[in-house]
Amino acid sequence: MGRSLLGIEDLDRAEIERILDRAVAFQPHGGPNFAKVNTCTGMMVVNAFFENSTRTRSSFEIAAHRLGADTLSITAAGSSVAKGESLVDTLNTLAAMRPSVIVMRHQASGAPHFLARHLSTPIINAGDGTHEHPTQALLDARTILDRLGRLEGLRVAIIGDIQHSRVARSNVFLLSKFGASVVLCGPPTLLPREMAQLAPGVELEYDMRRAVRDANVIMMLRVQLERIHEPPMQAGEYFRFYGLRQEHVELAHPDVIVMHPGPMNRGREISSEVADSQRSMILNQVENGVPVRMAVLERTLLW
């Protein structure tokens, strides 16, 4: 039975490196296509997405197909959950159909952990509430490595709605394991002081100019209005104080790269000038999603 991937926090550095190294083999390497390998032929990947997602679900589907696996996608609206069936019963039903792995996104933090206690089918967390998004952190790490060649010693500024970001948590866990220093920056309403205790090497900064100074990586996050019950600050003020503009990029390290996990709101958290610049790795991140998820699926199905 394969191994679940529930979060980055529980993975050790060697295992992360193994995934990242394997992903290189699946990259297009300048060509038009990802490598098609059929190492997982006959296996069934169930994509259970209980929360809306286009890029992550597509990325997992493509990854599974490239590995030769069959896929089945279910969404909340189309599942029995919408008819009132409990999550456990829905997943038990699916598990009885003997999938090789369940890739799961859910709006509740810990939902995959909850299911992993009840199901024997391995589960890959494709984002759980405001907790973790492990494959995003892995593809972000792959993207940084591709461009900068290392993680150790980098200064990474993660800016925006930290409190509600599973991407931020997974990246903090991963980058910390590799000896990067992480600066978390956002309005105080979206950056709890306890975030400093997430992992070694994490510092908090409420001033964006100080956060980006000498940064090797600037990672922008979306304000997750759907999870926020009161506005953290007025929209215009948010962009003024926490929106990434060219003036910030100029304060950073000369080779700085700019990242965003998407979906991106231009003019709210990032200016178009920066989003479309040579510094922007946003599309590289999306591209790296497929090889990294191929490596993750392989890890679960074959390793």
Binding site: E9, S86, L87, V88, H106, A108, S109, G110, A111, H113, F114, R117, D128, G129, T130, H131, E132, Q163, R166, R169, P192, E194, M195, Q197, L198, H229
Partner: protein, 433 residues
């Protein structure tokens, strides 16, 4: 013919009477008749309690029996049997049923249903406000006349200070305590666990300790204003404990209770996303847990109460963010309390017995025919016999409760209930005794 029960040779601990010695206890016709050495009672049924502690029947002033309305999770019958198995002879049930116990009709229903089906004494707690909605006072006088012994909107706080003031004024005249679920709903909104580094790490929304503290602070001022007997339910923060102690030093009739789970568990012991660790108030950090224990040691905390909150499997078998708050606790209360408080050397066995007997009785203020919480002649003939040392493992599959939501399943305890006697009748015995 008068029915007699003679409990012989036990270590009788009755804090209210100052007794702690090997003695006999005689119960006649449902009431305590005598406590002394070598009592003679011809024709009495006898029970040998040598090597065991014989205490007044335990009282839990904070349970949820879920009837009427939620009988899939618990009933008065099943809840009372779980109480008996935990050594409790008297329980007070909170009004958050369906319908809410906010009228004499519902109070009378519970009283009558308990009379017919419960194996322990059950006293209803009436709602403070209609529907526990916090807006308009419930029929408090009528509920008290029908048998309610206190008022509370437990499960929810009374957010409106003016309404709380009027409730306290009414309660003062009726000489009943007002029991508050201390939680500022604006501060706690959406929260699932204690706000701390763990909540941030797990991506769960936090409930700050201040949500409890600000409500306690407000209510203490209202208690001073009105002179009411005010009781903080399930206290869980260091500031709340300090404020209650302060109020008492000012001479206010203020009391509070702690639950076994809030002194036995902290956020670090939670199994992440396991709904059996989701309760309100949430499990706090170690500094709060220590403050509550210290409050018990110092006397700032008056009594223990379980907040037994059954939820059926389906309700709790959900994602952590979606499942309801609360755990069952009647059957594990003594084992947990012995472990955390007595075996650790924090308090004496005598004090522990007081926390389960005379102290909760004092909080409610039972008098006359209802007097309980002590082995005094004329008091209700309720006795809890327990072993302070024997090892046993809690298996929730054997629970009398209809629900199994507990973080203590599989835990081994040192010491627990052996025999539970209600009005002179043995209602429960530990297997093997």
């Amino acid at each position: 013919m008068v029915k007699k029960l003679l409990i012989r040779n036990g270590r009788v601990i009755c804090p209210a009477s100052g007794i702690d010695s090997v003695a006999d206890v005689l119960i006649e016709d449902g009431r305590v008749a005598a406590v002394g050495e070598q009592l003679s009672a011809p024709g009495a049924e006898t029970l040998d309690a040598a090597g065991l502690v014989v205490a007044p029947g335990f009282i839990d002033i904070h349970v949820h029996l879920r009837e009427p309305g939620f009988t899939h999770a618990e009933t008065i019958a099943t809840g009372s049997r779980a109480a008996a198995a935990g050594g409790f002879t008297t329980v007070c049930c909170m009004p958050n049923t369906n319908p809410v116990n906010d009228s004499a009709t519902v109070t009378a229903y519970i009283v009558e249903k308990a009379r017919r089906e419960a194996v322990v004494h059950v006293f209803p707690i009436g709602a403070i406000t209609r529907g526990s909605e916090g807006e308009e006072l419930a029929a408090i006088g009528s509920m008290v006349a029908a048998g309610a012994v206190a008022i509370s909107d437990d499960g929810r706080p009374v957010m409106n200070a003016r309404v709380m003031r009027r409730a306290m004024e009414t309660a003062r005249v009726l000489d009943i305590p007002v029991i508050q679920h201390c939680e500022d709903l604006h501060l706690s909104a959406g929260g699932d666990m204690h706000e701390c580094a763990d909540s941030v790490r797990l991506g769960l929304r936090g409930i700050p300790a201040a949500a409890e503290d600000v409500m306690v602070a407000r209510d203490l001022l209202l208690a001073e204003l009105t002179g009411a007997r005010y009781h903080v339910a399930h206290i869980s923060t260091k500031n709340a404990v300090a404020m209650v102690a302060w109020a008492r030093r000012q001479g206010l009739p203020v009391t509070c209770e702690a639950t076994p789970h809030h002194i036995a568990l902290d956020t670090g012991q939670m199994r992440p996303y396991d709904s059996n660790f989701k309760m309100k108030p949430p499990l706090r950090g170690p500094e709060h847990v220590e403050a509550v224990i210290q409050g018990i040691v110092s006397g700032a905390v008056d009594c223990l109460a379980t907040d037994h909150a059954p939820h059926a499997g389906d309700d709790k078998m959900q994602e952590f963010e979606r499942c309801p708050f609360g755990i069952i606790g009647l059957e594990t209360a003594l084992g947990v309390a012995l472990e955390v408080l007595v075996h650790s050397g924090r308090i004496s066995l005598n004090r522990l017995v007081a926390l389960f007997t005379s102290e909760p009785a004092r909080v409610i203020g039972w008098k006359g025919d209802q007097a309980r919480g002590a082995l005094k002649p004329g008091y209700s003939g309720d006795v809890t016999i327990f072993h302070p040392e024997y090892p046993w493992t809690y298996d929730v599959k054997n629970s009398f409760s209809k629900s199994s939501n507990t973080p203590f399943n599989g835990r081994t305890f040192r010491g627990g209930p052996i025999v539970t006697i209600v009005s002179g009748e043995i209602v429960w015995k530990a297997p093997g005794f």
